[in-house]
């Protein structure tokens, strides 16, 4: 080992080399800095922005649902919702002297318990589901990263309690949100439908639709069918968060400047329905006391639905809160089926209301003489069985058979005039039966129009079925709405309308997206006009002929034409005499009561159909409902709100005659059956 002597040129050189080395190393550092801070700086600026930018969705106000005269059926109401991030960022201590690490960890059981203690639950079950929901979220690394709404509609108390609790700040957040409000409650439930949180299956099925866990979507009715119009497009708002993912109160100005621009939500579109809320209310009131059933009121020429009532129904507002399992189970198991829309989802024997189909099928046979009379003995013997009618109708032709609802006449048609299932089926299908009407909400049922193939498949084809089919029994099944379409076709000259609820859709700034108001009948008439006139005459007689089945329910204000129906469902069960037949005062052994009518009889404007499940006879249970509705809609308007029942002994106006009001009685018409 030897070094140069102090002050020697060798030493100077050595120091110069050392200085050069130091300079070179620092130059290396500067080069690296140049690379990071100048050449690649844009890249790292983006990374830094991604670090602090938290973009949250701004929910779009959902469009309103309005009835005629802008009456509200559904709207959004501002509320506060509880959002949780089940896998929040935390600063994790690491073993072995290394720096702590920011990572995403599921929240602990204690945290969940602490949050649950601040929320008001309806019962223990509600709380259990709340906790389970958060636990499910925290197990999911994907969804746990986002703030998910776990409870909407917080009360002020809950809001204050949660907002002031700082230990929750890392993962719990209250955001402004909205809940759906249905001001008319259960009255319009089957039309508007209700909303629920999006299901995981639906979320997975439509990844492109932009839904997030916790979003609410329409589950039934208009809310579901027009979901894409109602929901609007959610906006975006970005905010500055720190390394823990918590929004900072006073962010650096350059961070705020670097945030992506907010995008305003586009409110959903308003849907204007043809539903007349007053009429709907009247129909709903008319169904009071009836345990289950439906009413449909429709314009005969356009198919616009003016009222559509299904009872019983659930207040859709209930779904905006948490629902206890007990209630839910009770609804599910209820014999009255509150979830089922009785107007389109449930199918029933149409009973005698179907006789118009049998009659039209027969009239298409050129050899058939509708004026030919038969003698009704009150029964026929056929196939070794005696088929009984309600009573002897005496001498009847087609028109009288309809007026008096004579089953024997139609039975004899099938037995003697070769009225086959095929003929009936042809007419029934032309009039829209056996197929969905196309309303499009609440998963409509198709109904059943029996064919020989269908009947044969279910065992040996019995001709007794044919007899029953002619009077709307056997295997014929229809929805209430289908019967409304059928009678609308009879009233409007044979045009099968497509029922609609939506008149118009407008954007929030009143641009019309869809206008259905001048929709016209497109399809050609499906039935001969002479035949229809004959049927219409019969239907007018049903209400206005003293022998007509619905004579005692006739209105003074307007002349109604229609048909009663009493679908015998209880016959077999009546024999069994089981105790379960009567459920909560609802005698399931009783027949389904129908009435389908239109008015005014000479210039039909609206058709109204009522079905009362196990309500008894059509004239007693269903006809008053239809009459009340028609009276309200047409009579009330025509006679200045005054309508009177016909006094006893006053002859009904003949078909084609103008109605004259009674001069004897000032009693108000008592709505419904006394």
């Amino acid at each position: 080992m030897s070094g140069p002597i102090e002050g020697s040129p060798q030493l100077r050189f050595r120091f110069q080399m050392i200085a050069l080395f130091a300079f070179a190393v620092f130059a290396g550092l500067v080069m690296r800095l140049f690379q990071l801070q100048v050449l690649e700086s844009e890249n790292y600026a983006r990374k830094a922005e991604r670090n602090f930018t938290d973009t949250i969705a701004v929910p779009a106000p959902r469009g309103r649902i309005l009835g005629a005269r802008r009456r509200l059926l559904a709207r959004d109401r501002p509320a506060y919702a509880l959002f949780v991030t089940a896998r929040p960022r935390v600063l994790k201590k690491v073993q072995g002297g290394r720096p702590p690490v920011f990572t995403r960890e599921p929240v602990g059981d204690d945290d969940v318990k602490r949050l649950a203690a601040l929320v008001d639950f309806s019962d223990a079950d509600d709380e259990a589901r709340f906790v389970a929901h958060i636990q499910r979220l925290r197990e999911d690394p994907q969804n746990g990263r986002y703030a998910v709404s776990v409870r909407s509609n917080l009360s002020w108390d809950e809001y204050a309690r949660i907002q002031t609790r700082t230990p929750l700040a890392g993962w719990v957040e209250i955001r402004e949100s909205a809940i759906r409000s249905f001001p008319l409650r259960g009255m319009t439930a089957s039309i508007t439908g209700y909303m629920r949180e999006i299901s995981p299956a639906q979320l997975k099925a439509s990844p492109q639709a932009g839904y997030r866990p916790g979003d609410r979507v329409g589950k039934t009715g208009i809310e579901r069918q027009w979901e894409n119009y109602l929901r609007g497009r959610s906006g975006r708002r970005s905010r500055v968060v720190n390394a823990l993912g918590v929004p900072v109160k006073d962010p650096p100005a350059n961070a705020v400047a670097a945030l992506p621009l907010p995008r305003d939500p586009i409110p959903g579109q308003d849907i204007y329905l043809s539903v007349d809320v007053e009429l709907q209310s009247e129909a709903h009131a008319a169904m009071a006391g009836r345990r289950a059933g439906g009413v449909v009121v429709m314009e005969v020429r356009t198919g616009r639905l003016l009222a559509m009532v299904s009872v019983p129904s659930l207040d859709p507002n209930l779904w905006e809160q948490s629902i206890s399992r007990k209630d839910y189970q009770a609804w599910l198991s209820s014999p009255f089926k509150p979830f089922v829309d009785k107007t389109v989802q449930e199918i029933y024997f149409p009973g005698s209301t179907y006789k118009v189909v049998s009659a039209l099928a027969m009239l298409e046979d050129p050899g058939f003489d509708p004026e030919a009379e038969i003698e009704c003995e009150g029964y026929v013997d056929y196939g070794g069985r005696r088929h009984r009618d309600s009573h002897r109708h005496g001498t009847v032709n087609l028109e009288r058979a309809i007026v008096q609802s004579c089953n024997v006449y139609f039975w004899l048609l099938t037995m003697e005039n070769n009225l086959t299932l095929a003929k009936m089926e042809r007419v029934a299908r032309r009039l829209g039966l056996g197929e969905r009407t196309g309303l499009g909400i609440n998963s409509e049922a198709k109904g059943i129009v029996p064919t020989e193939a269908l009947e044969s498949r279910q065992g040996r084809f019995q001709r007794g079925v044919l007899l029953n089919s002619a009077i709307g029994q056997g295997n014929v099944k229809t929805t209430v709405l289908q019967v409304a379409v059928l009678y609308a076709a009879i009233a409007n000259g044979g045009f099968v309308v497509t029922p609609t609820l939506v008149d118009r859709i407008e954007t929030y700034d009143h641009k019309v997206v869809l206008d259905n108001s001048d929709a016209q009948i497109g399809a050609p008439s499906s039935v001969n006009a002479f035949d229809l006139a004959r049927i219409r005459k019969g239907l007018t007689g049903v209400v206005n002929d003293p022998l007509g089945t619905a004579y005692r329910e006739r209105l003074t204000s307007v002349t109604v034409a229609g048909k009663t129906g009493t679908a015998e469902v209880g016959k077999r069960r009546r024999k069994s005499k089981k105790k379960q037949e009567v459920i909560e005062g609802w005698d399931t052994a009783k027949d389904h009561a129908w009435f389908a009518g239109y008015a005014p009889h000479d210039d039909p404007k609206v058709v109204a159909v009522a079905l009362v499940a196990h309500g008894g006879s059509g004239v007693d249970a269903a006809a008053p409902v239809v009459m009340r509705v028609l009276d309200f809609y047409l009579g009330g308007a025509a006679s200045g709100g005054e309508s009177r029942p016909r006094a006893a002994g006053v002859p009904p106006p003949l078909p084609g005659q103008q109605h004259f009001s009674s001069q004897f009685s000032n009693r108000r018409h008592t709505r419904g059956r006394p």
Binding site: F15, G28, V30, Q37, V38, N51, F52, F102, T103
Partner: protein, 372 residues
């Protein structure tokens, strides 16, 4: 020569000639930047970390002034005693030191946690300076003479590495090697040392390095794969540096800093925060200040009248040089994570005071030039 003939007249003239204003100027600039940056990183105004650091700087300044006023030849007499005290303190640490983050590096003095390994850096320089001074008086060329200095390095280094504090141990070795390179080592010797280092590293890699130390190298090579082992910190520090851009985000405006994305912003990763807020211009300025100090120290060393003074200056230069290079190099991902402080930027009394003492010695040697 820097001084006129005859004794300087008047206080002002004496201050100009006896005080090394270059050292003070560089130091003041660095300290101001450091305190500003510390305030920004701590984010709690002038209290807390900044007040602590300022206190250390003031204490250090007093010691710096004292050492500068002292003739550096006084150190010649106390060198071995000081060195021995330093070894003693380190031994004491291993007996009853404070454990922080699984390492036993600190002595609790009640008001202050003292890290003797920091002071050891300076004491080693002083010890080596004395030995090399003595050596220069003897005849040259004796290989036996290499024994004692090597032991003087290896004993403290081994003790420090046992704490465990590998990086300070390496720092001790680097400082010593720098000193040898400036004085005794031939080119051949340096090459031999370099090859020994490479072989030693490979042996250490195989067996001697602790798990966490080996892992740090893995993390350094691919930080993305080891987020929980410090990779997160490295990536976020790199992002902070890059986010600084050409001119920086502005003091207390760096988003990575203000929003706490850079862990250890007041200690090992202070440079990342500085880089984000001051940009490329600021980092070049800071590196220039450090380099200026280092080059100035080498300049003084080359002019020193005796070997002791020269070695002391080289030692001080080496201390600054290696601290800056290793700390900044870690932030810039040129080296694996070591945990060495950036002088004055990293919060911590032991390092600040040691560094200021070193600067005091530098000024003392510088003053001796003025007497020549």
């Amino acid at each position: 020569m820097r001084h006129r003939l005859g004794r300087p007249r008047g206080l002002w003239a004496r201050m100009r000639s006896q005080i090394d204003w270059v050292v003070i100027g560089f130091t003041l600039c660095i300290v101001i930047l450091a305190l500003t940056n510390l305030r920004s990183a701590a984010g709690v105004g002038w209290g807390g970390y900044v007040r602590d650091q300022l206190t250390y700087v003031l204490i250090g300044s007093a010691m710096m002034a004292g050492l500068a006023a002292m003739d550096h030849r006084v150190l010649y007499r106390g060198a071995y005693i000081a060195f021995g005290v330093g070894i003693g303190l380190i031994v004491m640490v291993s007996l009853q030191g404070v454990m922080i983050n699984a390492a036993q590096r600190w002595l609790d003095l009640g008001f202050f946690r003292f890290q003797p390994s920091e002071l050891m850096k300076l004491l080693l320089v002083i010890g080596l300076a004395r030995y090399l001074q003595d050596l220069s008086a003897k005849p040259r060329g004796s290989l036996r003479a290499a024994g004692p200095p090597v032991l003087m390095v290896i004993i403290p280094a081994a003790l420090v590495i046992k704490q465990p504090d590998l990086s300070t141990g390496i720092m001790l070795v680097l400082i010593s090697v720098s000193i040898f390179a400036a004085t005794e080592l031939t080119l051949k010797g340096m090459l031999a040392l370099l090859s020994t280092a490479v072989v030693g590293f490979m042996v250490a890699w195989q067996g001697l390095l602790e798990g966490y130390q080996r892992q740090r190298i893995d993390v350094w090579l691919s930080p993305e794969s080891y987020p929980e082992q410090g990779g997160y910190q490295i990536l976020q520090a790199r992002t902070a540096v890059g986010n600084g851009g050409l001119l920086g985000q502005g003091v207390e405006q760096g988003t990575q800093n203000v929003l706490h994305f850079v862990p250890y912003g007041v200690s090992d990763f202070a440079f990342a925060i500085y880089a984000e807020e001051w940009g490329f211009g600021g980092t070049v300025l800071l590196l220039a200040l450090y380099l200026g100090l280092v080059l100035w120290a080498i300049n003084i060393a080359s002019q020193a009248r005796d070997r002791m003074g020269s070695v002391l200056c080289i030692g001080v230069a080496a201390m600054f040089f290696w601290h800056v290079v290793l700390n900044v190099g870690v932030v810039l991902e040129l080296f694996p994570n070591t945990g060495l402080p950036l002088p004055f930027f990293t919060h911590g009394g032991s390092n600040v005071i040691t560094m200021m003492c070193a600067l005091g010695i530098l000024m003392s040697v510088s003053r001796s030039l003025a007497h020549r």
